[in-house]
């Protein structure tokens, strides 16, 4: 008789998800499903909204990914209004967006993931977190806080607000950067660059050495396609570019402009999960398997560093070379998502310094109001966790009549399921369930930095609060959950 194990809710997860692991007659893993059990349909909410309001509305999909939605939405609106963004505005957008990448990666790696590697994986999940890390390694948490606060300040200067920015408008930005602000940002970025190098030192000298066996384990490798934005030099770019696909051997499989995404990406539906499973249309959906015959692809930090020839920055490039020397090119090791994330923090810092070094960024020409209304637009950016597509069709009055949003976590959902299954296989054998299974399954899917709020367009990235209320005698009177 088959047995099944359900782990729910997944700890440190936004939204609602549960992991179900099915065992066969011999007690080995037969199947594993990472199920998203919430759906709200944000696209429907967008219908009838003025296009120019979309960047502010869509930024509310998720409190954590607000910048990514704001930017992708603004880019879609640029196209709809037929407005080319001015050079100064483009640079301001890219500057602020690189700051957001650093901000998001910092939270994910230091606050969410680092405890997995720097505290013993044997301890119970409730103690394997940032509080535990603060006690054991306070210097790392303080380093992360500095990085986070510096970047938050940059986002405030450029975006008007650190979270839920309002500065991106069709054709440009609403606020210029003054000379004083440029100097302040540059000082913060220089500090960030040093902190980014410390982060990589921590990963390469401590985490990688300690976890090399785990990172290299066959169960933590998926040979998939990778998708990401690249510029005209085949260098990945967070803000803009064409979409490049590489095959599991690292060879370019396709390259196309963002508005052609439907020619290349299709979505598979499973009855047990509200999230869809995008795949490469011309390869086809072959089920939950990896390899060149399967259309499953991955996005995010590791994918970006697999589609790129080089990093933008010299320092980041040295670390990319180091990662490729250790793990190959392309890198298929899922836990290397973290390494890639840290390289990107450094690379984004270098890119920001370059953008700041040119006086164009303090120019006054920040908005183009000229253009011919087109009525349809696709905006694509690299969200911290991967490719993000916003596609709107508007009527003659500029009101949205159709919206399609494909987020990074959705793109990775098939791969996440595979990673969960592989991790479970390693720790459940012949009915023997290792105590490590929960931790290791969590570590496997956390590498992707999944955002279920975005994947289901459901719950914004605010707090979930689970709480128990006691009376004066210490008895439980209410259990509440947000």
């Amino acid at each position: 008789m088959s047995r099944f194990i359900v782990i729910e809710p997944a700890s440190r997860l936004e939204g609602e998800a549960k992991i179900s692991i099915f065992l066969d007659e011999n007690g080995n893993v037969k199947d594993a499903f990472f199920q998203v059990i919430e759906l709200r349909g944000f696209e429907q909410f967008c219908i009838g909204r003025p296009v120019e309001e979309m960047p502010r509305i869509t930024s509310r999909i998720c409190g954590v990914c607000s910048w990514a939605h704001h930017m992708a939405s603004a880019k879609a609106a640029d196209v709809i209004f037929g407005r080319d963004v001015t050079e100064t505005a483009r640079r301001i957008r890219e500057l602020s967006y690189n700051a957001h990448i650093i901000y998001s990666h910092t939270i994910h790696f230091y606050v969410m993931a680092a405890a997995d590697f720097l505290l013993s994986p044997d301890i119970f999940p409730s103690r394997r977190n940032v509080i535990g890390l603060l006690k054991e390694r306070p210097e790392i948490v303080k380093q992360a806080f500095k990085l986070r606060l510096n970047t938050k300040r940059i986002q405030e200067i450029v975006g008007g607000k650190a979270t839920h920015p309002t500065a991106m408008i069709p054709g440009g930005v609403s606020k210029r950067i003054s000379l004083e602000e440029r100097d302040e940002i540059a000082k913060l970025v220089r500090e960030n660059l040093e902190l980014a190098e410390k982060g990589l030192e921590l990963f390469e000298n401590e985490i990688y050495k300690k976890f090399k066996d785990e990172i290299l384990a066959e169960e933590n490798i998926l040979r998939t396609y990778y998708v990401g934005l690249v510029d005209e030099h085949d260098c990945y770019n967070f803000y803009d570019g064409v979409i490049k696909v590489v095959d599991p051997n690292g060879k370019e499989y396709a390259k196309f402009k963002s508005h052609k995404y439907r020619d290349h990406i299709a979505e598979h539906v499973e009855s047990w999960c509200y999230s869809k499973f995008p795949y490469l249309k011309n390869i086809g959906w072959k089920g939950f398997i990896d390899g060149a015959e399967s259309g499953i692809y991955r996005v995010g930090p590791l994918a970006r560093l697999n589609v790129t020839d080089d990093c933008f920055g010299e320092k980041a490039n040295e670390h990319l070379k180091k990662m490729r020397e250790e793990l190959g090119n392309p890198v298929h090791h899922t836990l290397a998502f973290h390494w890639a994330r840290l390289i990107e923090i450094l690379d984004a810092s270098e890119r920001m310094l370059e953008l700041l070094s040119d006086d164009t960024i303090i120019g006054g020409d920040i908005l183009n109001t000229e253009g011919e209304y087109v009525g349809e637009g696709v905006g694509v950016v690299e969200a911290p966790r991967g490719l993000l597509i916003h596609h709107y069709i508007a009527d003659e009055n500029g009101l949205v009549k159709n919206a399609n949003i494909i987020v990074a976590t959705t793109c990775n959902m098939a791969a996440i399921n595979l990673s969960v299954k592989n991790a479970a296989k390693r720790y459940i054998k012949e009915g023997k369930i290792s105590d490590k299974v929960l931790n290791m399954v969590e570590i496997a899917f956390r590498a992707y930095d999944p955002c279920l709020a975005c994947a289901t367009h459901s719950l914004p990235g605010l707090m979930n609060i689970s709480l128990t209320i006691y009376d004066s005698e210490g008895n439980v009177v209410k259990r509440l959950r947000k």
Binding site: I131, G461, S466
Partner: protein
């Protein structure tokens, strides 16, 4: 020197009842003029919310919670101690507010308000995107605004 109080209403403006905290803050902004009382709205994550209350003597946080036992639209008054039982991480990108508070307690306790009160309005699990609140939660918003007006007036 009078104590400095911050009232911070939390929520998402396009998520129906979830916006209750924001609506309480908006009502109070029109009614409270005291220079020792700061009123803010926030749709941010936990770290940001905790950073907003730093430097104040007293913080009143207004939010919504889901209850298995209480009907929608009830007001629950809590302190961080009520929540400590559940200090844990439930969000992949951000941490819950109690964890954020705990981090600040460990690193810079002197900067946190000496009194933190949380008023929570109960909602159900429905999180459909909407700019309107349910009548039950809207009534609770008005009632809580009156309660806080009285509470803050006594201080200011």
């Amino acid at each position: 020197m009078k104590e400095r109080t911050i009232i911070i209403g939390i929520g998402n403006p396009i998520l129906g009842d979830d916006a209750a905290g924001l609506h309480v803050a908006r009502i109070l902004k029109k009614m409270i003029r005291g220079e020792n009382v700061t009123i803010k709205e926030s749709s941010e994550g936990s770290f940001d919310i905790v950073e907003e209350i730093i430097g104040f003597d007293k913080a009143i946080i207004v939010d919504t919670i889901q209850s298995e036992n209480l009907p929608k639209g009830k007001i629950v008054k809590l302190t961080p101690n009520n929540l400590k039982e559940n200090v844990h991480l439930v969000n992949l990108h951000d941490i819950d507010m109690m964890t954020a508070l705990k981090i600040y307690e460990e690193t810079m306790p002197e900067k946190l308000p000496r009194e933190i009160i949380i008023y929570a309005i109960t909602t159900d699990r429905s999180k459909a995107f909407s700019e309107k609140m349910s009548s039950e939660v809207e009534n609770a918003v008005n009632k809580l605004a009156k309660t806080l007006l009285k509470e803050v007036s006594e201080v200011d």
